[in-house]
């Protein structure tokens, strides 16, 4: 484990205010989802999941075909596809276009893909002003922070944090009423929308048979971003494509329910090309940036490529016992939670943070809530195995290897296992039925101590299951 990962986890665990914020926000989002996918509310939920999974699987298996189809259909509507292999190419494209058109001000709607490549920082480095317009993202941009959660980016900020950020960055009087804070952001950002030269959005879906970008949002900032400026650039990962507009009848039912527990988000925009001759408003130019940035590395492995089915609903974060303790910023990249734990090692290589696939209890909750049925626990196991295989001989932990071999031997020798259980039980202190939260003195060896530091043990039962079983047999 890198010291940074370790340190951030412990900082988060030690901050009770942050713990409460993470816990209450994820609990609410989690419950909202549960209410909306319940069998009496959405009887065909499981069928929709299977359909979404089948469509994603088919699309990824034929990805080149659907990207080309998307490209030619967008071109037929007057839009243009730009392929980029990484963040440098995305920034170069935007900078080049801005220079050609004399653009200075950019408004942005929420996009994890642009977070992935630090687009704002790259553009601002070259003298462009790039303003986030989703309320949560705007707050974070002023605070120079990355999103804490895929769907609720400023989940960790209280109204008092926001007041301090606004006072400091916007030079306004201290304002702690959330409604007033929101209206202040509306006023400031409305001016930006009306003055902006370029709008940059992400994409929730790309529709191959239409050449369309689909955006899902609640605030209206994505609509403004894609309507007010003369140029619209959508930045999307290559995996966002689905075959047909009609597939939205499946995906839209799953996305908002899984993300926030809404039937539909407030605005769903289906945008195919720049405005047409007879239309009054809308952008004159539309570009869709198709970004690789590591995605093609996932394609060869038939099992692990399902990571690319993800529709970024955030349901796995809200249900994950690990995310709900260590929060979003402990994770080493912009993607957090279970999906981040399988996505980051595959995009960046397992060496980026070898401990990441191990930051899971393998409880399986993430796989259960995933609307496109990504088998996250299975992929976590595969990645763990990859991490172990990639370790050099010197780095391999001899003790760990020995311990697992001994464990395997023990588990295949029932008599000795039972005896070991009895000895371990005798070594544990009598805790009067309470959980053991400190290391028993007789087990105080360094590896055991490290393992027990973050774990509490239930008190040893007076009699083992085997003993009870034997007694019953008599």
């Amino acid at each position: 484990m890198s010291t940074e990962f370790d340190q951030k986890i412990h900082e988060t665990l030690a901050d009770p205010k942050l713990q409460l914020a993470i816990y209450t926000s994820t609990a609410r989002l989690k419950q909202n989802r549960v209410n909306m996918v319940a069998a009496d509310v959405l009887p065909d939920y499981q069928e929709l999941r299977s359909q979404a999974n089948a469509v994603k699987k088919h699309t990824i298996e034929n990805l080149d075909h659907y990207l080309e189809q998307f490209e030619s259909n967008l071109a037929a509507r007057g839009g243009k596809v730009v392929y980029c292999k990484d963040g440098t190419e995305v920034a170069d494209f935007v900078l080049g276009l801005a220079k050609e058109r004399g653009a200075r001000l950019i408004v942005k709607s929420k996009s994890m893909t642009t977070e992935e490549v630090d687009l704002n920082e790259r553009l601002e480095h070259h003298g462009l002003e790039s303003v986030e317009t989703d309320l949560g993202e705007y707050i974070l941009q002023l605070a120079h922070e990355k999103p804490y959660h895929i769907v609720a980016p400023a989940l960790h900020k209280t109204r008092y944090d926001v007041a301090a950020i606004f006072t400091h960055s916007l030079h306004v009087p201290n304002e702690t009423v959330i409604e007033n804070q929101t209206m202040l952001a509306r006023r400031v950002l409305r001016e930006k929308f009306l003055a902006a030269d370029i709008g940059i959005s992400g994409a929730n879906f790309l529709i191959a048979d239409s050449g369309a970008v689909v955006l899902v949002e609640n605030e209206g900032n994505a609509r403004l971003t894609t309507t007010a400026p003369r140029i619209h650039i959508a930045v999307a990962g290559i995996e966002k494509v689905i075959p047909r507009a009609q597939d939205l009848a499946t995906f839209l039912k799953l996305l908002a329910r899984s993300a926030t527990g809404q039937l539909l988000s407030v605005y769903t925009s289906f945008l195919s090309g720049p405005r047409r001759a007879e239309e009054i408003d809308g952008p004159d130019e539309l570009y869709v940036v198709l970004l690789d940035n590591g995605r093609t590395r996932l394609l060869p492995d038939k099992e692990k490529r399902q990571t690319l089915f993800c529709i970024r609903c955030g349901a796995c974060l809200n249900t994950c016992p690990v995310y709900r303790k260590i929060g979003g910023h402990s994770f080493p990249w912009v993607y957090s939670g279970p999906i981040g734990a399988i996505l980051t090692p595959q995009f960046m290589g397992v060496a980026h943070e070898p401990a990441l696939p191990f930051a899971s209890s393998l409880c399986g909750a993430c796989g259960e809530v995933c609307p496109v049925k990504i088998d996250i626990p299975k992929i976590l196991l595969d990645l763990r195995s990859e991490v172990k295989k990639s370790e050099t001989r010197e780095k391999q932990n001899r003790l760990e290897k020995f311990a697992f071999r001994a464990f395997a031997w023990l588990m295949t020798h029932p008599r000795i296992y039972e005896m070991a259980g009895r000895i371990a039980g005798a070594m544990a202190p009598s805790a009067d039925g309470k959980w053991i939260s400190s290391v028993p003195p007789l087990m105080n060896a360094p590896p055991v101590r490290a393992w027990l530091r973050e774990r509490d043990l239930p008190p040893p039962p007076p009699r083992s299951f085997r003993e009870m079983w034997r007694q019953r047999q008599r």
């Binding site: 080149d64 080309e68 392929y83 007010a228 605005y267 405005r275 093609t296």
Partner: protein, 213 residues
């Protein structure tokens, strides 16, 4: 070239060759329930009101005109060029700007208006949504910039839901560059998960359903 490089990488990884045929995708899943008009109206109103939207029912275009006139009295309003609004006579009364065809003029009017008045191509009963396809008659900004939005919709445009919409409009791109589904007023919960309406789009939405049955 990056394009060819990326497509080549994808094909190599998937074991495909350029232009190779593709098996049919899984059949689309479209299920349209049989719901009569009265039930649709009830469901639409229930869903939209749950999101703090307002739904009014009137029998005739004249009634719609009278109702909208009372709602926008003393306010600055912009109305779209939708034929149905003209049919109702909503474009004719004082204080309502309409007939705008220039983008700059439209943007200016919408930025200072109190209310935007539009029709809608469809409405969805099971989610309380409006469906608006951008056209000469229906600009995008009228339902977006003003703090309040009034939509006047013939009741026979009320569909059961998403599935019916995508069976009637399987290819929205052939009709317009922009199709937007509007489900309730603009909202955010980005600060402490406290719900605030009207953050960027309209904070108030009123749908006037016109027609009997």
């Amino acid at each position: 070239m990056t394009r060819d490089h990326i497509l080549h990488r994808i094909r190599t990884a998937l074991g495909r060759s350029a232009g190779q045929a593709v098996a049919d995708p899984p059949p689309v899943r479209i299920r349209i329930p049989a719901v009569d008009r009265a039930e649709r109206v009830k469901s639409f109103a229930f869903r939209l009101e749950a999101l703090a939207g307002k739904v009014c029912r009137v029998a005739t275009p004249e009634d719609a005109c009278g109702l909208v006139a009372s709602m926008v009295e003393g306010k600055r309003a912009v109305a779209s060029n939708a034929p149905f609004l003209a049919e109702c006579g909503i474009t004719a009364f004082a204080g309502v700007e309409t007939g705008i065809t220039g983008r700059e003029q439209l943007r200016e009017k919408c930025a200072s208006a109190d209310v935007g008045i539009t029709s809608a191509d469809y409405a969805l009963a099971d989610t309380g949504s409006l469906v608006m396809l951008s056209s000469r008659g229906e600009a995008r900004m009228i339902s977006l910039l003003p703090p309040a939005h009034i939509a006047v919709v013939p009741v026979d445009r009320l569909l059961t839901g998403l599935d019916e919409l995508f069976s009637i409009v399987p290819h929205p791109a052939e009709v317009s560059s922009s199709m937007v589904l509007i489900t309730g007023p603009s909202r955010t919960a980005d600060i402490e998960q406290i719900l605030v309406r009207g953050v960027h789009g309209p904070g108030q939405i009123t749908v006037v359903l016109v027609g009997s049955g």
